[in-house]
Symmetry: none
Subunit: 216 residues, 2 copies
Amino acid sequence: MGSSSMNVQDQFTRGLPWEHESLSFLTLACCKRLSTLAPKLPATTTATAFDLKSFIRPENGFKKSNHIPETPQVETLPGGTRWNPTQEQIGLLEMLYRDGMRTPNAQQIEQMTAQLGKYGKIEGKNVFYWFQNHKARERQKQKRDSLGRGHCPRTYTATIATLTVDTRRHGETGDESPNKRKCRTWLIEGLEEDKEYYKVEGDKTLELFPLHPEAR
Amino acid sequence: MGSSSMNVQDQFTRGLPWEHESLSFLTLACCKRLSTLAPKLPATTTATAFDLKSFIRPENGFKKSNHIPETPQVETLPGGTRWNPTQEQIGLLEMLYRDGMRTPNAQQIEQMTAQLGKYGKIEGKNVFYWFQNHKARERQKQKRDSLGRGHCPRTYTATIATLTVDTRRHGETGDESPNKRKCRTWLIEGLEEDKEYYKVEGDKTLELFPLHPEAR
DNA sequence: GCAAATTAATGATTTATTCAAG
DNA sequence: CTTGAATAAATCATTAATTTGC
């Protein structure tokens, strides 16, 4: 829709040289992919069968082994992807957390970052995110634990299920590489006796199967 | 607890002169009241009332009054509270929104802010928040509207399931290492509309969940 | 034993919710 | 009541661990 040669956004923002100095307000919250905003990216690179896994595997024929220099631990981001905290940094952050720090303000983050920088590369936003995540995940854990005690007692059984599923994500084309994957036989706990469960067989079928106590 | 005269936070951050130069990452996301975090902040600096807002608000002592040059409309924050967009600014922002802009990146915000600044005082974070809020509220509105209608679209298939299972084999002792494993979110095809499916959440619970068409 | 396969952990974003100024 | 601002929750994505098949 409205796919003229130049859209409103272009007209509005063109001619601005983008000074990269004063993006103070963005470095934290706006480091996002352009995914959501460019609905019509040129399909130039899609056909190349771009696969993330090619990047995951180490492209050097040999490596690995269990060498592990000695400060390998974490950090040391080459091209620089995401922050990898060092043990010292984690230790200090947890100490601060235990001490009650939850939502540090600008000044506090600034100071912490300075101190933590002594033990490895780190930015303020890393500290900010760390507290956000740590706080949230501690909350989750507590909630889970409290719920666990809640209704735990009876009717815990076990059963086997084999699932074959398609791992393609939602938006992927996936017509070429099926990318199937088979979850092997799992032992599933927590099934209740008076309910029924399902089993996925093959690629497309899903059939009901009753819970059979299955010795154990 | 452990309310000694100096807590960990103090020890950790003291002696830092607070350079006000590189607070780049904070000006957006950390402008929060200190309320939530400091049950027992050292009263030393709290009295100083360090507030990020001091950077946001224009530090000119006088202004306001009912002078109102000629672009009076809105804006012209006195002591400096929050952004008051002008009609021109709103108009331009809405135009950009209609044109598809949803989550602008750093550069885009920078450019928009520069342009919008011609029509009244504005900062990058205002633009950022405007899109966040406008997007969210449009979504709310749409959801409300769609619920009004019969929410008819009984689309078929495609659903997500998340399983948490115990991977111990049959005969294993398994008393020591729980060895839990979590199957992430899979796209399961071939589900039928008039059936029900299950979801395993947490480690032990398994609850029924209906197939929800899940737009797409 | 190694390397691919796959999971768990967690850093980083995005979305939903809440607060409060006007 | 509207809406800018702030926080929390949910989600996505990447990396370190772990497991499994030769």
